[in-house]
């Protein structure tokens, strides 16, 4: 079973991606963004939990009317240089006040986790074989910060803004 970091703990993933569980038997399914847009009506009435997986160029704004139905958004990172997901997360959390699970997935490494947690990610699906226990220490990288941020699972001391 897939392990991931959620709210600073190592847990077994309850969710399946569409290609892992085509019929949604586990009742917790993450659809690719394009498929969600195409089959929205059908899935809306389905009786399982739904998540959507965004690529770096998928516009967050087009989910604006979907948040009542979506319990998870997974944002894809293609490598350490990929930075669009941080803005997507900020927009989701701040502008649309998304309160479900916000998951970083793809080629992510522990050195990014602190930034990601500050942007509102609360779940981290590191590549297979990554040392999750070691990665947990990343949330303690900094105890201070300058900017106001969403800060999920981290609470750096800030100067009053």
């Amino acid at each position: 079973m897939r392990q991931l970091i959620k709210q600073r703990e190592i847990v077994t993933d309850e969710w399946r991606y569409a290609d892992e569980d085509p019929h949604g038997r586990e009742r917790a399914l993450i659809l690719p963004f394009a498929r969600w847009k195409e089959e929205r009506e059908r899935w809306w009435l389905w009786d399982g939990r739904l998540g959507v997986r965004l690529g770096p160029t998928d516009p967050v704004a087009s989910l604006e009317h979907d948040f009542l139905r979506i319990a998870l958004v997974a944002i894809e990172f293609g490598g350490i240089g990929e930075g669009r997901g941080y803005s997507q997360a900020q927009i989701l959390r701040k502008r649309y006040r998304f309160t479900g699970e916000l998951r970083a997935v793809g080629k992510i490494q522990r050195d990014q986790l602190f930034y990601m947690a500050r942007c509102g990610f609360d779940a981290f699906e590191l590549p297979e074989g990554a040392d999750l226990r070691a990665a947990l220490t990343a949330f303690n990288d900094f105890t201070v910060a300058y900017q106001p941020a969403v800060d999920v699972g981290v609470a750096p001391l800030r100067r009053a803004v």
Partner: protein, 552 residues
């Protein structure tokens, strides 16, 4: 000068610990070369031709003497005894060992310094006018704003993995001495019709492969909206900037692709959409920062005649290397790092120590680095100038050439840099040897010569009155010459290429021919750049490329 509080101090210390762990994991084989590369770069560590190069941040060019002494110590203990000041007002060391960098960073943290975001695809050191706070023409001191922006940009959670590097310059004088129009964002403190001070916002300037002058996207931005507006610009760039091609990833390419007007609309739309959630201006925090930039305890003095009875050499130095100060009885003094005996911008550890002593004695214990790779004592009493000159002269830091042809901007070039196509330091030497007659230099007057060893343009060649760009032609070093560029003021412009590139050995000769056209064509009191603007590049081109018997 800004002083760290506990939060600032803890942040740099935690950054050192984080980087120490990253280095340890890399050396233990737990981090791949590529993954470590992205991490070390955002901490200023490059792997260069001979050794790693560590670039240390000097926020808006301001250094205390305690910090300079620490830089001297680092040069002595971890490098080959010298450092190199850059066009971002930073300092870099060319010979540290990768394993010792965490120790260097720890020493830096002990004097409130760091190497955070001196490289990598993030927001780099915020630069400012080196005459900030003392220039008679200043609307407002930009440095409190620089520090405010520096803090906001430091380890920004959303904008630390941008498509490409991002440079911001802030200036408070109409006479732009920070090259702000060739920055990703240039901020000008301006006064509106109601007499309020705010920012003119320029976006999309930059040098490198596709040089461009920035576009004004906001004529007047109220001060309290600065951070929310910067966030809007950065968010649009972070989401829309190209990531498929490193050479097309700067914000200038995005601005050009959609057009400045459309880009402005995108920023304004994002700004309005995020108004409720963007950082709000905190006047108390800004005032806290601003209080660190109050003027030093100037004495009440009169301007005085410091030249009578002094040797010509001193007078020349006074004319070229000192600048008017807004407080009577004081001058700003350039410490020239452009002696013919040193690579431009280089300074040894013992010179740094001496500079620190002099700054303590004569300039309130502060030193500034300038974007054209010199140092500056901002607040020297006029009555001390002669002593300061003698002391600087002893250590080869009083070459009276500020603003002249030999006050060149020059990148490290092929001698050190892994990106370069050609050397630049030997060209600087060649030019210094050819133009060693001070009287001739003074007759030529103000000329900005800027030189880069490759098209990445660290030496800002596009905006040199004369620009020199090193190119590789079948394994040989050739140099392309541009004229008519300018980085400063309302007239910022990109230079024009005068023709085919020229071989290494002929660069100084070509510069000489260009100058001879100026000498024969100039009108009374006309600067080189103005002559080029008036007559165009044709006469220069004709002379440079004339057959040898005509050119002689």
């Amino acid at each position: 000068m800004y002083q760290y509080d506990q939060i600032d101090q803890r942040l740099v210390e935690e950054r050192v610990a984080q980087y120490r762990d990253q280095t340890r994991r890399y050396l233990a084989g737990q981090l791949s070369e590529d993954d470590f590369r992205a991490l070390r770069l955002r901490n200023g560590l490059y792997i260069q031709r001979h050794a790693p190069m560590l670039r240390i941040s000097v926020p808006y060019g301001l250094l205390s003497t305690r910090q300079i002494r620490m830089l001297a110590r680092i040069a002595r203990e971890f490098d080959k005894g010298y450092g190199h000041f850059t066009t971002r007002q930073n300092i870099q060391f060319n010979w540290p060992k990768l394993e010792t960098v965490p120790d260097i960073l720890e020493l830096l943290a002990s004097v409130q310094m760091h190497a955070i975001q001196t490289s990598g695809n993030c927001i780099r050191n915020v630069t400012a006018d080196h005459l900030a706070g003392i220039a008679p023409d200043e609307i407002e001191d930009p440095r409190p704003w620089c520090e405010y922006v520096r803090q906001w940009a430091t380890l920004h959670p959303e904008f630390s993995f941008l498509p490409r590097k991002f440079k911001i310059a802030i200036t408070g004088s109409p006479q732009d001495r920070a090259a702000s129009k060739v920055h990703d964002i240039g901020l000008h403190l301006v006064r509106n019709e109601q007499g309020e001070v705010g920012f003119e916002v320029l976006v999309g300037g930059g040098l490198g492969r596709a040089p461009m002058i920035g576009h004004v996207i906001r004529e007047f931005l109220p001060k309290q909206d600065l951070l929310s507006y910067l966030e809007a610009i950065l968010r649009v760039y972070n989401l829309e900037g190209r990531r498929d091609n490193i050479h097309k990833a700067r914000i200038k390419i995005l601005v050009k692709a959609v057009g400045p007007e459309k880009f402005r609309e995108m920023v304004e739309a994002e700004w309005h959409a995020s108004k409720d959630t963007a950082p709000q201006f905190n006047p108390a925090e800004f005032e806290r920062i601003k209080a660190f930039f109050t003027p030093p305890a100037y004495e009440t003095l009169q301007d005085e005649d410091v030249l009578s009875g002094r040797p010509t050499e001193f007078r020349n130095w006074y004319q070229r290397n000192t600048k008017r100060h807004k407080v009577a009885g004081y001058r700003a003094v350039f410490v020239s790092l452009k002696s013919p005996r040193r690579p431009p911008g280089d300074i040894t550890h013992s010179e740094m120590d001496r500079v620190a002593d002099l700054a303590d004695q004569y300039s309130f214990g502060l030193v500034r680095s300038t974007h054209d790779q010199n140092l500056l004592f901002a607040d020297v009493r006029q009555r001390d100038l002669f002593e300061v000159w003698k002391a600087l002269k002893e250590i080869d830091l009083a070459t009276p050439n500020i603003g002249t042809l030999t006050d060149m901007i020059c990148c490290p070039g092929l001698d050190f840099c892994a990106l370069a196509n050609a050397t630049s330091i030997p060209i600087a030497k060649q030019i210094n040897e050819r133009f060693d007659d001070l009287d001739y230099l003074y007759d030529l007057g103000d000329i900005e010569l800027k030189m880069s060893g490759c098209m990445n343009a660290c030496g800002h060649h596009h905006v040199g009155h004369i620009g020199i760009l090193g190119v590789d032609k079948g394994g040989e070093e050739w140099y392309q010459i541009t004229i008519g560029g300018s980085a400063s003021g309302p007239d910022a412009a990109l230079g024009q290429v005068i023709g085919p590139s020229v071989p290494h050995a002929e660069v100084a000769e070509i510069i000489d021919r260009i100058l001879s056209v100026y000498i024969s064509e100039r009108e009374e009191g006309e600067r080189f750049i103005d002559t080029v603007r008036r007559i165009g590049i044709k006469p220069f081109k004709a002379r440079v490329y004339a057959p040898a018997h005509q050119a002689a």
